[in-house]
Amino acid sequence: MPWSELGRVLIVSPHPLFREGIVRLLGDQAEVVGVVASLAEARSAIRKHRPQAIIVDHENVELEEADLAPLLWPELESVRIIYVTLAGNEMIIHDRQRVVAATEKDLLDALKGASYKRQSPKESLREAHPRPAQRAPEIPERGGIMRKLTVPLLITVVLSVPVALWFWRTDLTPELAAREGQPIDFLLRLEFAIAGVIFVLCMVFFFYSLVVFRRAPGDLEDGPPVHGSTPLEVAWTVIPAIIVIGLASYAAGILWDIMPTTGYKDELVVDVTGFQWGWRFEYPDLGITSSELVLPVNRPVLFRLYSVDVIHSFWIPELRIKMDNIPGIENHLRLTPTKVGEYKVRCAELCGTAHAYMLAPVKVVEQSAFEEWVKSQTAAAPAPPTGAAGVDAQAAERGRALAQQFGCLGCHSTDGTKLVGPTWKGLFGSTRTFQDGSTRVADEEYIRESILNPSAYVVEGFPDVMPKNFKDQLSEDQIRDLVEFIKTLQ
């Protein structure tokens, strides 16, 4: 805003030095129409000269802007009232805003202002004594609001039913095969149903608003100034709190039911050891070590979970519950398989390179089949493996134990089944074809090399994921034992 628009200036101060100084400062840059010493003189000067700006000595003329304002109204539409003080750090006070001007030049600059806001006296008044903003009536009559809410509420109810039913009735999880899994599935479906209803409620109001309360093009008016409603806040705080606490209480009951702190009668104890990257199952009461988990149906099992290296997690999805295998800790998990079938243990805690392949076969069988299996396991141990001449039976026996201990049997079957790695049945002496097309006969040296450096020969059709650290874990003697064992598998 150009300087000349400071316009006609009236100076008000009882102090001659102040008056002289301001006049001198303004020079010929403004039209000084009056220089007065008191409020009374100011009033008549204002009426007479109609100044556009009034510079008032703040220290000496005891006025609030509010006092001046009624003076000016209705004589003048707008006038700038500038209070100047030379005391302390404050130089100019205008409309209750402070400007610090340290030098004469600053004062002039500030008076000039880059852009000068003109305020009506009424605005000055209001600013001097700000009143709380007016509030429109909060919500119109009760009847009105309920009528408005009927449609979305109705839609909510109508849509909630199919949504809730769908979640309640739909099986989204794998087949259930454990007793403890039943309340879990129930709770899951309940939670989905509740979540579904809440989702529908929110989305109906959401989309309803987007459609019905769309702003018409060109409409620049604001909406109704509704600030809040304490009863509503209380309602939508307390009701959700009740729902979630209720849910948690119910779930706590289930928790104690499926994770008992005391054992079941007749529970079968299985020690599960996880290691990078396989599983070992030991049945301490039966003297069995196995790399596959065989369980009798409908009998509670106590799994005692261990790890020899990093954290793993024992999980059979169909049996629902998982629990971690943590080095230095013995965790307990009780499950009662209820369905005959074949499943897999899948490690559920990232444990390094072959975490994805850390699986083990699970067979839930009838009691009689289980007993037969037990017999075969305990009977198998002493019987020397048959095989080609030149097989060291004792070494082969040690090799079999090693194959279980180090998890080889987690990826290599002995009965021809294709697991993560090629089966060992018939391996020795066969011709292997590798990913690059080359071939080689599987002799002792081949097997030894494959253990020490798995990437050297990768059989086609299989991934290169065999752990590379067996060379740090197995001695040459142990490798020889494993080779002997493999030789017996024809």
Binding site: Y116, R135, F206, L220, P225, V226, S313, M323
Partner: protein
């Protein structure tokens, strides 16, 4: 080139790293050990890298002057002869420069993490290993997690830095030099994290659990130390946010007259200040285990692997509230503007952020339900966990009430706000199955969890962040973005996102485990994984649209009017871009911030001397008329 702080920092930092490593090797030889040992030497090298980088960009020059007895004075002295763009590559104490530095870096990290995600998605699209070894996949997957987290932390600081002083009427943050340091320490930290890929990678995922972390390849050391640096940035930043918000508000701005975003950041800053040391210490302990053999988490040495998880999650759970509270604040901030109505229940919404922050400190062990803590502890954490739903619900209901009977328009920022609402709602509703212990026994470490947190992250951060960028773009740059491209970005991103997460929820419930590169084809996941991959690429495409829009609009966008959104907030009443010190005279707050529709209401008054041409006394009744 050397005039740029960043270049100096990189050079001096690299030299410092080499010197640090050399000194370590010499010390080892002097102690009679082999010179090279990967972890100790890299450890000293990495610390030296960070420290010397900061020296190089001049982060410590004023403190150095103080140490020698000089007065450093006002740190703000932008060189009027230097081009503006150089400021963004230098140690500049101005909060607006820092806010832009953080935001741009955050976006860069988002693109990197997004690219990593797309690589993962390509591998996962079909069962079997397509083109990656499991080790590479593990590293890429871990990097996707931590780089994205870094992007979010930096994005939060970006919004906070640019907006807080403007919104409270201050010329800058309380401690401008500390503020610049907070930004610049993230740069060497990010470099370390990226370096982890080239120093052997790491196979623990971003959670870095020992004992696996203690024996992982060298890459994990760089990961731990990089995160440490970013954590430090978070803590120092929060000191600034808290001091500025609590001590530098304009006259008349009581706490309940602050813009709601500031409330969100207040709660966020408290969490940052209190929680971050926990992740720093947990990682430091694993580093000490690697470098000095101190067996904190090794049972063979008297340590305990679960201890790590307690310390780690005591930060990492509240951390997710750091990620979302600002975004939820953005939703609360923008809704009134595009609905032309006051924020319904302002006080309750403000306090709900604080409630979430407080309750959020009490839930950490819900990440550890399968560790074997016992029924009593597990149930306790279940109860605290479900309670978080209450203040979160309060926000949603107040938002719905804000929208009710408003006058709703659908510009790009509002589209992202609306999208955030729906996506975060699903994120929140998919939480209780994780929070109730018995269902978590099944869902833990499955793709259900992955779906849940992608919903909360996109709904609580990504979408609001996009909304914020579009919304304040005209204020920051003085130009307008392209509305059509903005809408295209929104639709592509939303559709792509739902393709990804719906698939994730589905296969998670079917038993798909997290953090695996390969899955059993017999489980029937292939189709869903393929859909997720296609969705992911759609999200990536949308971000390209965004990039094009932003770059073109910065260069040649239409000049924006000063207040295109007709917002009542402080920062919209001054020029675009704002002046160096924001408000020529401190504004005085005389009313509430969201009095849309109240005739004659005024939020803020300004003074003379350099004040902008805007008339803040403009009320809703005369908006659009001048």
């Amino acid at each position: 080139m050397l005039s740029l702080g960043l270049i100096r920092g990189l050079i001096v930092g690299a030299i410092g790293a080499v010197i640090g490593m050399a000194l370590t090797m010499a010390a080892r030889v002097a102690l009679g050990r082999p010179a090279w040992s990967a972890d100790p030497v890299s450890f000293v090298g990495a610390i030296s890298w960070i420290v010397f980088f900061l020296v190089g960009i001049g982060a410590f020059s004023d403190w150095w002057r103080w140490a020698q007895g000089e007065q450093a004075g006002d740190p703000h002295h932008p060189d009027p002869n230097a081009p503006q763009w150089k400021r963004y590559f230098s140690f500049d104490p101005s909060h607006k420069v820092i806010g832009i530095q953080y935001t741009v870096t955050a976006l860069a990290l988002m693109y990197v993490a997004g690219l990593l995600a797309l690589i993962m998605r390509l591998e996962l699209a079909r069962s079997g290993l397509q083109f990656m070894s499991p080790n590479t996949y593990n590293t890429i997957m871990g990097l996707h997690g931590i780089v994205m987290i870094g992007a979010i932390l930096l994005g939060v600081s970006g919004m906070a830095n640019y907006l807080i002083p403007l919104m409270v009427g201050a010329p800058d943050m309380a401690f401008p030099r500390l503020n610049a340091l907070s930004f610049w320490i993230t740069v060497p930290g990010v470099v370390l994290i990226v370096l982890s890929f080239f120093t052997g990678g790491f196979d623990t995922g971003w959670t870095g659990y020992p004992p696996l972390g203690a024996r992982a390849p060298l890459g994990i050391l760089f990961f731990y130390l990089g995160v440490f640096a970013i954590g430090l940035s978070s803590i120092l930043g929060s000191i600034n946010f808290l001091t500025t918000t609590l001590k530098m508000r304009a006259p008349g701005m009581s706490l309940f007259r602050m813009p709601i975003f500031v409330w969100g950041m207040l709660a966020t800053s408290i969490i940052q200040l209190v929680a971050t040391q926990f992740i720093g210490m947990s990682f430091l302990m694993v580093v000490l285990e690697r470098v000095l053999g101190m067996g904190f988490f090794d049972p063979a040495k008297g340590g305990d692997a679960v201890l790590f998880q307690h310390i780690f999650w005591f930060y990492s759970h509240p951390a997710v509230y750091i990620f979302i509270l600002p975004g939820l604040g953005i939703i609360s901030e923008l809704l009134p503007v595009f609905v032309r109505k006051p924020l319904f229940g302002y006080k309750f919404v403000a306090l709900s952020s604080m409630a979430i922050a407080i309750i959020g400190f009490l839930v950490w062990a819900h990440h550890m339900f399968t560790v074997g803590l016992g029924n009593v502890l597990n149930s306790t954490f279940m109860f605290t966990t479900v309670l978080v739903a209450v203040p979160t619900g309060i926000k949603f209901f107040n938002w719905l009430a804000t929208m009710w009977e408003g006058k709703i328009s659908f510009e790009t920022p509002m589209l992202f706000v609306l999208g955030a609402f729906v996506i975060f709602l699903i994120g929140g509703l998919s939480g209780p199955p994780n929070g109730t212990v018995v269902t978590d026994f099944f869902l833990h470490e499955t793709y259900w969890v992955v779906g849940h947190f992608h919903h909360t992250m996109f709904g609580g951060f990504v979408f609001p962040f996009m909304a914020a960028i579009y919304f304040w773009f005209p204020k920051v740059t003085g130009r307008m973005y392209n509305e059509r491209l903005g809408k295209l970005h929104f639709w592509l991103m939303t559709i792509g996102f739902f393709m990804v997460t719906t698939s994730m929820f589905r296969i998670g419930l079917l038993g798909m485990r997290r953090r695996i590169a390969d899955y059993d084809p017999a489980l029937g996941f292939d189709t869903f994984q393929m859909i997720a991959t296609m969705g992911g690429f759609l999200v990536g495409l949308s971000m390209l649209v965004f990039l094009v829009n932003i770059v073109r609009s910065i260069r040649a966008g239409e000049r924006a009017p000063e207040n295109p959104w007709r917002s009542r907030s402080l920062e919209w009443q001054i020029s675009s871009p704002p002046p160096e010190f924001n408000y020529p005279t401190p504004p005085v707050v005389v009313g509430g911030p969201y009095d849309y529709g109240v005739p004659g209401s005024v939020y803020v008054r300004f003074g003379i001397a350099g004040a902008s041409d805007a008339d803040p006394a403009r009320t809703s009744s005369d908006n659009g008329k001048s």
